[in-house]
Symmetry: none
Subunit: 204 residues, 4 copies
DNA sequence: GATGAATGAGGATTCATTCAT
DNA sequence: CATGAATGAATCCTCATTCAT
């Protein structure tokens, strides 16, 4: 990579970071291109060198959040089921909290309407989450961690519901309801008891 | 009430209904005053006779949804705790579904950021929900339906989380994940087991 | 019509007149909404009360020119064929000159590409002109002014070609080549000789 | 010519050809530098190595069309007047058709306003055409092909008018009105009769 | 010669809101 | 009460052009 390309990447990242910062500070509705470029220290037109439309930077911010969670997930293959599920919960919360509550709000606002998702998105976030969790549980059956009669669909939906419920409540409560703290509690009183009956002998 | 006052009330209601219909059809972001008044069959200026600001009609729509739920709740004082809680769940879902998925999306979008709530709102939706549910449970202790050591906060937050999780997932899945169906399931595998240990002998 | 509606019409006309004046002065490429409204003495937004898009006012200006020519034509039913055809030539030139050379330029620029015509235009200008002239000649055969073997298509196309050729040359020559003067000359040395052989005895 | 100079010339020609292709496909208004260079397979900056301004390439395209016509004309000195004039007509049409109807549209749009012609253009297209045709006719008088009382101005303007009329109508009709076909017809019923009276005995 | 990142002036469009009638 | 013409701030986006590498 040449020096020029490196600088270009820096500019792009600078715009991305600035946008994240500004959304976190004032929310999406107050975000405008003049704002971003002004704060990032470049010209208005420079924005359009990297993002064809205003929405594209927002999509990218959310996708970034999305990818970070995925990346965390990939690292977790050796642990046992309970730990993997807990890690799944935690990953969401850690990454979302890193970006901040306002980005989370915009993320939910975006993810809430799959009809308005960008066309290059091959799948709904909902479908993606359902598939990923179902895979974890299906594999657990294959690995003999879960019994064959485990109600996978029920567990999958319950867990995802819990997760998005936590995020929605975090935003609603303006941060009072802290997800990190509740992840733990919920996991103990909701997820673990629910799984108990389906864990095979050797994993209990 | 004079004839004139009656007509005025009708115009007002017409505007409200039209706005609901339009949001359900095209979402909030495509809603504008010309749209509302045009569809309702009155002049742009008429809107401002009844609603000082655009936001006021949105607030009123959400408040309407809110009030319907409350009203349903008030009718339910004679039933036992489990039934009351189930009814609480159901009320949300029934009323939200009546308005439609797009209104629900906008409701979540609005409720998600308490800082941007209208100023005449005396309380956060979050705080309201927490208080209402806590009251139900506290009364249940007083009525000797629940044991004194019941972890009220834990139960309260868990239930609210589940509820908003369901609504968020309904929206995310574009209606595929049907709340009515899952309300029942969730109640059985999540809420009931959680309460079991704290119900007093006479209520079990 | 109420006083208000009258004023509104005046505002609309003022915008139209201003736009015509500005195009005539500086051409279409230098025309912008700020310009029009500023000169017309109203706010930028007022423009959009009357014209949904910038292009709509341009279309209307050209349509206006078009209609004036049509209206002139309608008045001419009692005269003989030669006079009617001459009047056809003259109508074009008189109306186009009234608007000015720059408007004529934009008109040609617009009329030159039927694919980019507004969708509410039911017909091509080309088709319209061909039809109108063919009607005049066909009727002349019916009225026994022209012989039955008159080559209508040939005459029609020749005359239209001459007409648009004159307008194009007027613009190209920046007004040096004056259409009024040439209309007469052309008619005498081109149209009349061409018709001579086909006029019936009683009309010669 | 060094290899480097050769390559440079190729790049320049590639840009020119690409621009012609793009105008023919989408018209001038959709033409932009990124478009040209992207399609030509070089960088945006490269454009400015060869053309100081965007307009310069458009000017060059039109000049190219212009020169091809001129070159055709130069070859025609030995034929008689009627043939030379017919060849003049034909040259226009053949070359303009080679470039395509959209280029012709843009050419007319450009040629229509001499005030906006590039400054390096020493003369108006109008003036150029008038001069060229007048020369042909004046020489015909000198060569004793035409009588001395031939109304040169009248003939010159009539012919040019006919020519541009044909091109304008070709564009207006979206290609339906085919210039090649009509060139012949017009020449026979318009130009030849008009000249008849002024041809000297030995040329009749 | 070639590149492509950066620029910023310029222009269209939206829409909540006001107010005279 | 009802109207709807007028407002103008706000904002997105385009694109020819420059210039350091």
């Amino acid at each position: 990579m040449t020096k020029r390309q490196e600088n270009a990447l820096k500019t792009r990242q600078k715009l991305l970071d600035t946008a994240i910062k500004l959304i976190e500070e004032n929310g999406l509705s107050d975000l405008n291109i003049e704002n971003i470029t002004g704060t990032a220290g470049c010209a208005k037109g420079t924005f359009y060198v990297y993002f064809p439309h205003k929405d594209d930077i927002i999509f990218e911010i959310c996708r970034g959040l999305f990818e970070r969670i995925e990346k965390r997930m990939e690292k977790m293959t050796d642990k046992n089921l309970i730990d993997r599920l807990y890690y799944y919960f935690e990953s969401f919360i850690v990454e979302v909290e890193r970006y901040g509550i306002n980005i989370c709000r915009e993320w939910i606002r975006g993810v809430i309407d799959p009809n308005k998702a960008p066309k290059n998105m091959d799948n709904t976030k909902w479908q993606f989450d359902v598939d990923m969790l179902r895979d974890i549980l299906t594999n657990a059956i294959k690995n003999n961690e879960l019994k064959k009669n485990t109600p996978i669909d029920l567990l999958t939906h319950t867990i995802i519901c819990e997760l998005y419920g936590m995020m929605t409540c975090w935003c609603m409560s303006d941060g009072t309801f802290e997800p990190k703290e509740w992840t733990n509690k919920f996991f103990k009183i909701q997820v673990q008891p629910m799984l108990k009956d389906y864990l095979t002998e050797n994993k209990k």
